[in-house]
Amino acid sequence: MIFRAVEDADLIRQATRGNVESFNLLVSRWEKRVYNYLLRITANREDALDLTQDAFLKAYQNLRKLDDPGRFAPWLYRIAHNEAYSMFRKRKPETDVDEIEPGATETQVTVGGSSVFPIELSLAVASALDRLSVDQREAIVLKVYQGFKFEEMAEILSCPVSTIKSRVYTALELLKIELAPMKARGLS
């Protein structure tokens, strides 16, 4: 993990000197994760792909402003988060971002590839995630799916750690009530 971080830092240094290929290598390492993060908060593949491209373009343009290459991941996700929320505001300028429910207008996220789990469970997960608020869903995506620490999430979302914890714990409680019994039945 540390070795990988050093490699990323080297790529960032080379990219800041104008080496586009180094940045492309960096993109190839992070594009899938960033795309899936955006896919889960937008629930739309086209939007997620567009936002991923925009996020990496902005990252390339502002790479020299990144003081600590070791903080690349939270910095990149911060850009992706800003791009997504900018899109939400453009689409519904008079609506509070917390009230936006992407899943309500778009087709729900389906399971990618073959799965050992029943399809009902995946649909139930997608449905349970959709019922969370945008903030809670994003907190779960960053914590559970992307594996960020609370401090990193606070940096990405520009929130105090206490707010982040509150969002994650509340969302986890709601998901637990809905999903744990279903998963237990699936295992039994």
Binding site: G18, S28, R33, L49, T52, F117, L121, V168, L172, A184
Partner: protein, 208 residues
């Protein structure tokens, strides 16, 4: 409500440091309620991971284009200005340079050459300074007095010229007046002489 020594969710989300994790694990082994709660959280996580990551439909790549690539100088400048520490250093350097420039190019105040004598390069004693001040004051007073005397002289000369002209005018007017009187006297004399000449024929006619 959990009876665990530390938050079970924090343990489950891998936010607890190692020593505290060990304590939670020891507690969960002996507490059925906390063990059950932890199992529910693990089932929730397993359910969440049933939603697999998707492959990105289109790979993202940037193409190097020399036309749109900034030159090395511009990249260096951009990097320089993008850095907070360097920006601070640059600001300090520019401030210093502007202070030196201002000090070097600021025009010195022009001394009053009539009143101030050149000051010696060596720092003088207070008595010398006092003497120089007195000397300068005396010179300034003398210059002002001389200037005033010259002005007075000019004024006197002006008034003298004016009075001469007035005197000449008065004399001319007196001459004119005198000439007028003489002409008037001659006229009067002639007028007196005329009636005498005219009366004689009349008297002669009366005699016929």
């Amino acid at each position: 409500m959990s009876c665990s020594p530390f938050d079970l969710k924090e343990y489950f989300l891998r936010e607890l440091p190692s020593p505290q994790r060990v304590q939670v694990e020891a507690h969960v082994n002996h507490c059925p309620a906390c063990r059950e709660e932890l199992e529910r959280l693990q089932l929730t996580e397993a359910a969440l991971f049933s939603l697999r990551d998707e492959e990105i439909p289109q790979r993202i790549a940037f193409v190097s284009d020399q036309i749109f690539e900034p030159s090395p100088v511009r990249r260096w400048l951009s990097g320089f200005w993008g850095s907070t520490a360097r920006l601070g250093f640059a600001s300090a350097a520019m401030l210093s340079a502007s202070i030196f420039y201002f000090a070097a190019t600021r025009p010195a105040p022009a001394p009053d050459r009539t009143a101030v004598t050149p000051v010696a390069a060596v720092s003088p004693s207070p008595q010398e300074v006092q003497q120089q001040i007195q000397q300068a004051v005396a010179q300034a007073v003398a210059a002002v007095e001389a200037h005033q005397a010259e002005k007075n002289k000019e004024l006197v000369a002006y008034f003298e010229r004016q009075s001469d002209e007035t005197l000449r005018s008065v004399r001319w007017m007196a001459g004119e007046l005198d000439a007028y009187r003489k002409r008037a006297q001659v006229t009067r004399v002639l007028a007196q002489a005329q009636p005498v000449g005219n009366a004689q024929p009349s008297e002669n006619g009366d005699a016929k």
